[in-house]
Symmetry: C2
Subunit: 123 residues, 2 copies
Amino acid sequence: MTRQRRAVESALAQAEGFCSAQDLHAQLRDAGERVGLATVYAQLRQLTEQGRVDVVRSDAGEALYRQCGEGEHHHHLRCRQCGHVDELHAPAVETWAQEIGVSSGYTALSHSLEVTGLCPNCA
Amino acid sequence: MTRQRRAVESALAQAEGFCSAQDLHAQLRDAGERVGLATVYAQLRQLTEQGRVDVVRSDAGEALYRQCGEGEHHHHLRCRQCGHVDELHAPAVETWAQEIGVSSGYTALSHSLEVTGLCPNCA
DNA sequence: TTTCTAAATTGTAACCGTTCTCATTATGGG
DNA sequence: CCCATAATGAGAACGGTTACAATTTAGAAA
Ligand SMILES: [Mn+2]
Ligand SMILES: [Mn+2]
Ligand SMILES: [Zn+2]
Ligand SMILES: [Zn+2]
């Protein structure tokens, strides 16, 4: 448990929606914390492996990270304009995805689902 | 309608699953067609704008393209091992995604959904 | 057919996010 | 404290993508 690790976790904690590794790095720099970009990436990889953060790919292909409430599986409702994210739970979709895969003979199933739109503020 | 345009479309047509821009470029080169990589990207951008191809992001962040049967909206069941892709139609998910967005005050809704697993051949 | 112009093509360089390298630094158990 | 071990981080390398400008081409007009 290093100073840098704490710094990255705290930066993630106070971030509103999803943000990129470089966003976090800049945020830390602005806050006076000196943390290497490589370290930010390393911490994010670890946190991701531990299931402590969600990762999504932006349309531009950039990885975006967000501290994740629970370790449990869920999906996102994201505003294309401001990046605001709500978490969704969708039991019906979970079972649908599972069944459709099984019925095609697939195993080791998983799935990803994201709903996007314009939030009330941005509409 | 140039020779290169025809070549890219034909390469896409005879590709089985999704493939990257660089895959297509290599495939064309092997087939004796001389087409610049920049042109392949340009054609794929156009085809995407026209809705003639699907684009998905690999976990590595690479863009993968596939000629799309219909212009209609659909989703994918993809094998993580061999890349094989089946197209899915899921009316129940469509309405669910729409309703969940509306109920949070969102507009201009869209969504993406992909189911992944190991296909019978790869299991 | 020949001419002409706007559009397409393409090699190359730049771009950008990410990963790698490895010398340096820090951690924490004994 | 000491030291083995792990983390850090500046910079280079990497890989996919895009920008650019020079060249070529398509296709319409003469
Ligand atoms: Mn989440
Ligand atoms: Mn498709
Ligand atoms: Zn918004
Ligand atoms: Zn397979």
